[in-house]
Symmetry: C2
Subunit: 571 residues, 2 copies
């Protein structure tokens, strides 16, 4: 029975902030050292932040990252640190260093490089090769692997277990989407049980442009049972003791008593656990967030990190009295504090009294500053200026877009003058169908709910009201028919199918990559399918000019879905 | 002495337009057949257009592409067609089919999959493996390879030549940038000479979102000498006779008279040339465009194809009387015809008389409709609406951006009402440094000169005037100091370093991926370097919301340069 005390450090690193990341790592390492940990485990590419993208093409950046790793290694004492960094030989490698007593004593280079969805690792990295070294830490043989390495049944974890590893540490930068945690847990449990090998999975936390990382590190025993887990969406240094049973070693032996795979080389880091003889430390697993709360927390963290990491303190949101802007301003308050959020109502000649009242009520409930700037003067001026060009032509979408764009101009002026970031309020259903005005309601720095379908927008509002214990978002906002109020009596359902019908078609087309023919065959209404497919395809040019926003589904618009603008494929 | 008559078909395919591409291929095939060609060679992924990007993730799209290939094969007669398509087995492959007499008689799967710069082929495709088949066409053993395959000295071309190929056909979708043609020619000449093997390089032509393909197909003999070449930036079916000399075969034999590599399997397509006995047909190589004209033609073709392939007929450009908008409207006229281009002057209270005069002169020279919409009314209205918020605060960039954004609103209103695409006028120097207004001058559908540094903008204007034989773009436009005219007496050089100093720093930082420290060491002024690096990094969020534009340098902003928005790396 060997005991190992591990500190799983799920940090919120910042891309490119080498000095800052070193400080974050050293701070956590200090804590691990004080807790008597044998090893402190940090996320994938913790030194550079993840994903560094084309910063990796700068040799100077890679060199700076190596110096940063040295700075971390130099400060290590008895607690071994497993740290993600960019290794550079002839090629670049996504790698983990094992550091102890002031030195880097070993390295592991990631074998499986994801190059799908939001991942471009083959753009930068070369896969590691050859037999990996195991590290004997506190007398336990530890294999090190990185993220995608864990996803192959016959990959590095199986190889390391067969080669003598009693524990595998897997360091990650695994982005969140709804349902991802359960997928991960199922996969890791299978991997640990199949390999008869305990598994420590450490994930980074925090927002980075479109992505949000959810932490939720996991510790599993050799039968695939969860021993403990880290918090979701929060930084944490999770210190726990893991018992590696002697029986476990036997499972790896073939009938003649040898390890079933080729024995791997072993680097001795430490022979005995610093936690031996102490009471066993196993923090209880925190309860998993409910599915709607999980999405809400992802939006809050993604928004907070985008705003703060880009050196903004305050945000401004146009409040229409509708459900989308109500959700966005509420998320903003939870992310930044209501003192740092500024609401602007910009009624036009077509705005209803009720909308203004709802915006006012919401701002009051949240404690958010609200200013009102009617757009009539600019609206009238613009119409007058365009009158000679538009003489004799009927009103159409042009006049509707005009109002939305004047609002964009006003929000951007406030942003410029006061240094507030504009949060846009478009949801995924609108973004998918192009039901938004380019440079109008889509103008801004961060699109908080761009990956949230309209039907989920309602669920999130109801959830937030439940948490508040009262109608933080006024009931009237949730109950009225959605409208852009850009012409008299306008309602969304005059331009779009009802959202309950629309969202499943978007899901099948965008996330499911089905063709129109396949969706029709699957039972969707043919008319509806053709309409939605046409709308989605034609709106690609608009989406390309949208700001980033938090990915919360398995396929978001953005780098997750790289379709051509110029395309004649009918869908 | 074996003769082979080949039709190199450099087509302008459209991504996703499977039916259209089949029709384009069959039209060219008909012409090749009439010319008595033994083989017609089409570009890489000619069936789907290149690059199809995430359309490839739709199994339905891949299936449709296979049907389209069958439709092409079914129409083949005696002339063999080498056609790029997506092959689907367990995985997807970027492939070429050899079709003749109604059937697909062979396939080749691309070995080297580029995954750098603008390329993401490892996101979609698996590399081909195993010994490739050679095709005996008109008695000549022909190897088939695809694009990147040609760039490795020890790659498929060397293997095929060593294995018995007397001619290698390389099909391409190779995007243009300035200087690319010379690089390609050098590489192909080396490849042909090293392999002692004639080489037919066929490239697609036309614009696709950010990319423009330049055609310029090349035919080289077994000593690497250019036999003939296709036009740059134009569709062409280049029919030529290639003589494969008997002496050439001997070079491949080792001292014992055997082929130097393992002999490759051969599929017999046709034994005798249809061109035997006819006078030899070798069209002369067209003169290469001069370097500035080449960039100009790339802009024209890229703009024309983006506009027309996205089903627009007309474009609108804001004319400031400055050099950027003057170049853009001139390119637009060359791309679409001046009847399809609409100019709008939008003077503000700060616009000079000279600017208006210049815009008017230019429009008259080009024969372009010009309307004038002063922005004063909306400008005054917006300032009034914002006055309560801005009370007591000094004027700053906010008020400048306001004017630019009002112009954006007007251009988009004209676009919405008349269905014209807005062409934006920002150049690469501005885009790099963020010297533009988001949703203002950057608002539009296509950014014609976004990859053209300001110093090159001048050269292109001068070039176009030389071609015209008179001052098509008025000399006054080229001679005055650049200014955005957003405040009294404003000049670019109050906010930016002079362009002659700025552009080389941008080149080193953006294209060269150097760090600030490296640039300073290389001799650039430290103050200048730090200023430019800060500007470039801080403007990433703006660039992300810019429309696509034509790539004409080795590294354009867009999918060619994927840097994080959130980054604290100091450069």
């Amino acid at each position: 029975m060997s005991r190992l005390r591990i500190a799983a450090c799920q940090l919120d690193t910042v891309v490119g902030d080498l000095d800052g990341n070193v400080a974050r790592i050293l701070g956590a390492l200090e804590e691990a050292e004080s807790a008597g940990a044998d090893a402190a485990v940090f996320p994938e590419l913790a030194v550079t932040g993840y994903p560094p993208e084309d910063l990796l093409l700068k040799p100077g950046f890679v060199a700076d990252n190596l110096k940063a790793l040295e700075a971390v290694a130099a400060k290590t004492r008895e607690c071994a640190a497993v740290v993600g960094f960019v290794d550079a030989g002839r090629d670049l490698h996504n790698a983990a260093a094992v550091c102890v007593r002031g030195e880097v004593v070993g390295r592991y280079r990631k074998r499986l490089l994801p190059n799908y969805a939001v991942f471009d690792e083959q753009r930068y990295f070369t896969a590691g090769e050859g037999p990996p070294t195991l590290f004997e830490i506190a007398g336990v043989r530890v294999g090190v692997s990185i993220c995608e390495d864990a996803w192959s049944p016959n990959g590095p974890i199986a190889e390391q277990a067969a080669g003598g590893a009693e524990l595998v540490v897997n360091i990650n930068a695994s982005p969140y989407y709804a349902g991802r945690l359960a997928e991960r847990e199922r996969m890791l449990a299978t991997r640990a049980a199949d390999a008869s090998c305990a598994l420590v999975y450490v994930n980074q936390v925090g927002g980075q442009d479109e992505l949000v990382f959810d932490g939720a590190s996991l510790v599993l025993d050799e039968e695939g049972r969860v021993v403990t887990a880290g918090a979701q969406f929060a930084e944490q240094i999770l210190v726990f003791d893991l018992e590696v049973r002697p029986v476990f070693r036997k499972r790896l032996l073939d009938p003649r008593g040898r390890y079933a795979g080729p024995a791997l080389p072993v680097e001795v880091v430490s022979r005995a656990s610093r936690a031996a003889g102490q009471p066993r430390r196993v923090p209880p697993r925190p309860a998993a967030l409910d599915p709607v709360d999980e999405v809400y927390q992802a939006l809050v963290l993604g928004t907070r990190d985008y705003v703060l990491k880009n050196d903004f303190t305050d945000a401004v949101v146009g409040l229409s009295g509708g459900v989308d802007s109500s959700l966005v301003v509420t998320v903003a308050c939870d992310a930044l504090g209501s003192d740092h959020v500024h609401g602007v109502a910009m009624p036009s000649r077509y705005s209803s009294e009720a909308s203004l009242t709802d915006a006012g009520k919401l701002a009051a409930n949240l404690g958010v500053e609200l200013r009102t700037i009617p757009i009539e003067d600019a609206h009238r001026a613009a119409l007058g200026m365009l009158a000679p060009s538009f003489a004799g032509l009927p009103e159409d979408l042009t006049e509707e877009n005009l109002q939305s764009r004047i609002r964009g101009v006003l929000l951007m002026a406030l942003s410029n003058k006061f240094g507030w970031i504009v949060l846009t309020t478009g949801n995924k259903s609108e973004l998918a169908t192009g039901y938004s005005t380019l440079y109008g309601d889509s103008a801004g720095g961060f699109a908080v709910i761009k990956d949230v379908p309209k039907t989920t927008v309602y669920r999130l509002c109801e959830h937030r009201n439940r948490v508040a214990g009262h109608d933080l978002i006024p009931t009237s906002v949730l109950e009225k028919a959605p409208s852009a109020e850009l012409r008299p009596g306008q309602r969304d359902d005059q331009s779009l199918p009802p959202y309950e019908l629309l969202d499943p078609v978007i899901e099948a087309y965008v996330v499911g990559d089905q063709t129109a023919a396949e969706m029709i065959e699957a039972g969707f209404d043919p008319e509806l399918v053709r309409r939605v497919v046409r709308l989605v395809d034609r709106a690609e040019y608009k989406r390309r000019q949208n700001p980033p926003g938090v990915r919360v589904t398995p396929k978001a618009f953005g780098k997750d879905r790289r379709v051509p603008i110029t395309s004649r494929y009918p869908g």
